[in-house]
Symmetry: C2
Subunit: 126 residues, 2 copies
DNA sequence: TTGAAAACCGATAGGCAATCGGTTTTTAAT
DNA sequence: ATTAAAAACCGATTGCCTATCGGTTTTCAA
């Protein structure tokens, strides 16, 4: 899943505001980067074909929405990275922890444990 | 940091066995994928220019070694992914956890906590 | 000194994001 | 129904990067 610069910007835009038409996305992004509406249109199309966006016709324009949440995409990228590089396949997160724990301080460890507790409770509640 | 297929294979090879010359890497990889020695040479060169490998001359050949550990590269990729996509910048690992915790079961949570404990002890020992 | 080994250089192919002009389709207003 | 505007769609182009490999130069050791 390789994403170009503009594709990322479009995704960010839609995570903030969706659904949105090409014109609307263009209105937002053209301020910072110029370019033409057509460019935005074909980028939306590419993302749609990559199944990262869904779309529905409303009036005469397509309205696009992200098909994955921000966090899901991050998770996907991490899983992919760890699959490709980790020695033994394990859950992406476990591999990530193994790779990154050296950089963590006590406070961050506390944070993680809090999140783990929350997750445990979510599991129990089922 | 975009890596092609062959570049990944070369990295894997060197993580298992380094330092190694182009010829040695070629000897290993040609079994599974054929190709020419020159291709391996230029791939090593590209990785060297990307500062993922170091090299030293021994005899008349360069001997290459990884300049980053496997886990460092994974960590780098994760940090990069989270920087690009996370809303608020936080430690890559914290963001990763927030993104991925939904997928974890009780056993994996246990594993993580064990690793956290280990990390705590490593911190204390300093 | 010379022949082999390896590095180095340059060209090419293939894939993908970004770009945008031009054409077709759709829609809404008259 | 007609038509003008809006938007989608199509296709070409550019630029970047990996992979590939032939050919040339450099290096080293016998």
């Amino acid at each position: 899943m390789q994403l170009g610069d503009l594709e990322k910007q479009v995704l960010h835009t839609l995570w903030q505001q969706a659904p949105a038409s090409a014109k609307e996305v263009y209105a937002i992004l053209s301020k910072s980067r110029g370019g033409s509406l057509n460019t935005i249109q074909s980028t939306l199309d590419r993302l749609y074909k990559k199944e990262l966006l869904s779309r529905a016709k409303e009036g005469h324009a397509w309205y696009y929405s992200p098909r994955v949440e921000r966090r899901q995409l991050i998770a996907k990228i991490i899983n992919q990275a760890t699959e490709e590089f980790a020695e033994h396949q394990q859950s992406g997160l476990i591999a990530a922890f193994a790779s990154m724990s050296e950089e963590l301080d006590a406070k961050q460890l506390d944070e993680l444990e809090t999140m783990i507790q929350e997750r445990r409770q979510a599991l129990e509640r089922r």
